[in-house]
Amino acid sequence: MTESAAGRDKRKFASAKKMRDIMTSYYIEAKSAKETGKKVAWITSGGPVEPLIAMDIIPVYPENHGAMIGASKMGGNLCEKAGEMGYSDDLCSYARADIACSLVNGGPIGGLPAPDMLICCNNICGTVLKWYEIQARYYKVPLFIFDTPFCHTGYGDEVKRYVRRQIDEYIAFLEESSGKKFDHDRMMEVGKYSVEAQVLWQSVLDTAMTKPSPMTCFDAFFFLALIVTLRGMEVTVDFYRGLLEEMRERVKEGIGAVPRERYRLLWDNLPIWYRIKWLSDIFTAHEACLVADTYTSAWCGQLKYMDEGRFLDSMAEGYTRVYLNIGVDEMIKSVLEMVDKYGVDGFVMHSNRSCKPYSLGQYDIRRAVQEKRGIPSVIIESHMVDDRSFSESQAETRIDAFMEILRESKGKRGA
């Protein structure tokens, strides 16, 4: 689908450059931590980052780095290297790319700064445990494991006490590893920024309820970086305030992210990082807008449990009840809510061989969505970073067929 240069310009986000600048300074600061005497902690994407910010320890995310490696199409080579090191291709490609990168300092930013400590929260998967143990041995640094029990349905008292206690242990670990005293007042401030940024991020995602939607999930995959890496910082709050304004402006002017939006779709699972543009183009050509996704909302989906007045207590629950740490029935509920909220016509599921907890149960979720909302769905298989695993013609045929079905089911003749 061709569009005029003016049309394309209109669809560009002014906030994109701002975010790139913030991320660049963040990585420069992290990479020069040795010179500035700051401590660096590597942390999992779903881990409680706020205490690190409160302690002025720079959080670094191997998963965000993995996404950058994937988006730069450098995942295949690094995963090949991991294969040479003995890691199976069936493992998570974030883990493989990161482990290989530690050895060769590859990737788009020449590798991550070496960590002074590692924070591993298993609310997103079990792979992170082994992955961080490997890195703890390699870098010879202390590792803190924040264990969040799986919440099939509710959040019981035992779990509540168990997780809350670990927050105190976590703080003690940080004090010991950094040689600094924890400042509770500063923590309250960071907590406030964190909740505020999450509220703003949710509001940004909510603008996609408008028809046409001012953004696609591919935009959300991009703008996600700050809420993942720097939630709890003022700069993040400011950034999302600006982004929200920009989105609302687009809504007011009726600017859709996809020219001639006719179909509204929901994306499930992590992005296929090395195919973002390809996917975006193919859906745009079908006049389909991926208005929402189950992934980027994971960084604001727990707001209902958060209370900035008692941040550390509520954080325990918020971090334990993330999308990937709840039962399939709860996931189905959450997906159906999104289908209704965003007015979704079809469901695109990425069966991500890298991420087992995300991909297990997808067929059940798919069936439930089809039965309860009667909307068609499609499953695409890949690894989120390892581009050697992607079959373009297979994916294209599936997406085309899905869109042909969707067109017919919406009663619009395709030919």
Binding site: P376, I379, E381, A401, I405
Partner: protein, 289 residues
């Protein structure tokens, strides 16, 4: 159940030319005087079909070779030549298959999922599920009461369970692929091929050969392995009868029988199984004329 439906057109896998109107089945929304064509460029073969007045006038199958675009043009031109038609009399062409976007002279490209659904529905309106097994993939297509595709599933990006898998096995066994079906039917004890990977299955087959296992049993084992994978895909997608099988692999009676056993359902296979996608494309071209 195997064979075609009484009163419908039959054809050989190569080419059959029929007189317009013979065995014709009326379809809705047809344009009386219009020729339409469907071109299905697959990974191994390219197929074409010409359609007029609710009937298939002829079909043609050639090997795809290196260039999908050339194969699409060649199979179409050869079929037109055999039918004595001029390209100008064809009002609309729909291309399909993996090479669908390489057929630049087509009016529209549609996926083989929709085309196989349309082809099967045209040939037997009662069909509710289509199992299409071609050179590089297998698909299960579920049709609603109106013959529209309501759901589908494709095999993972892996050759096991596809025509290519059978080709590799035929080479390892030094048997003509065309004899595979009949040979497997006389097996009294199918070998167990446990591997789900083409490469590993090939080495498994070679080790069975070296142990002196009979060809017919190995072939029957291969068919069971292929059928298992397709049956799992079919069950996952919610297959429902009546079931039709299309695509080149439908010509292999051994796979069809093994699948019928696994699914516990009869499978209808028409002579036109291999050209079903091209027929469906021609039908769609007529419908949207």
């Amino acid at each position: 159940m195997r064979g075609d439906i009484s009163g419908r057109r039959r054809e050989s896998p190569g080419c059959t030319v029929e007189k317009p109107g013979s065995g014709a089945t009326a379809i809705e929304e047809r344009d009386e005087e219009m020729y339409t064509a469907g071109i299905d460029v697959g990974s191994i073969t390219a197929k074409a079909a010409v359609f007029k007045d609710g009937a298939v006038l002829g079909t043609k199958v050639i090997f795809t070779g290196y260039s999908a675009g050339d194969a699409g043009r060649r199979v179409y031109e050869e079929l037109l030549g055999e039918l004595g038609l001029d390209a100008s009399s064809v009002s609309r062409i729909v291309s399909t298959g993996y090479g669908r976007n390489s057929v630049t002279f087509a009016s529209k490209a549609m996926t083989e999922i929709i085309c196989h659904g349309a082809g099967a529905h045209f040939l037997n309106p009662h069909v509710r599920s289509v199992i299409d097994v071609g050179g590089q993939d297998s698909k299960v297509i579920i049709l609603n009461g109106e013959g529209r595709v309501s759901d589908f599933a494709m095999n993972d990006k892996c050759a096991a369970g596809t025509g290519r898998f059978l080709e590799v096995m035929a080479r390892a066994l030094e048997v003509d692929l065309a004899d595979f079906g009949q040979l497997s039917l006389v097996s009294d004890e199918p070998s167990r091929i446990s591997s789900i990977c083409t490469v590993f299955a090939e080495s498994e087959v070679i080790s069975l050969i070296s142990k002196g296992e009979q060809r017919k049993n190995i072939i029957a084992g291969i068919h069971d392995a292929v059928a298992s994978r397709i049956a799992a895909l079919a069950k996952r997608t919610g297959i429902r009868p009546p079931v039709m099988m299309t695509g080149g692999v439908a010509r292999n009676i051994g796979v069809v029988k093994a699948l019928e056993r696994k699914l516990e359902l009869p499978i209808e296979v028409l002579e036109s199984a291999q050209t079903n996608g091209a027929i469906g494309a021609a039908v769609i071209a007529a419908r949207h004329g």
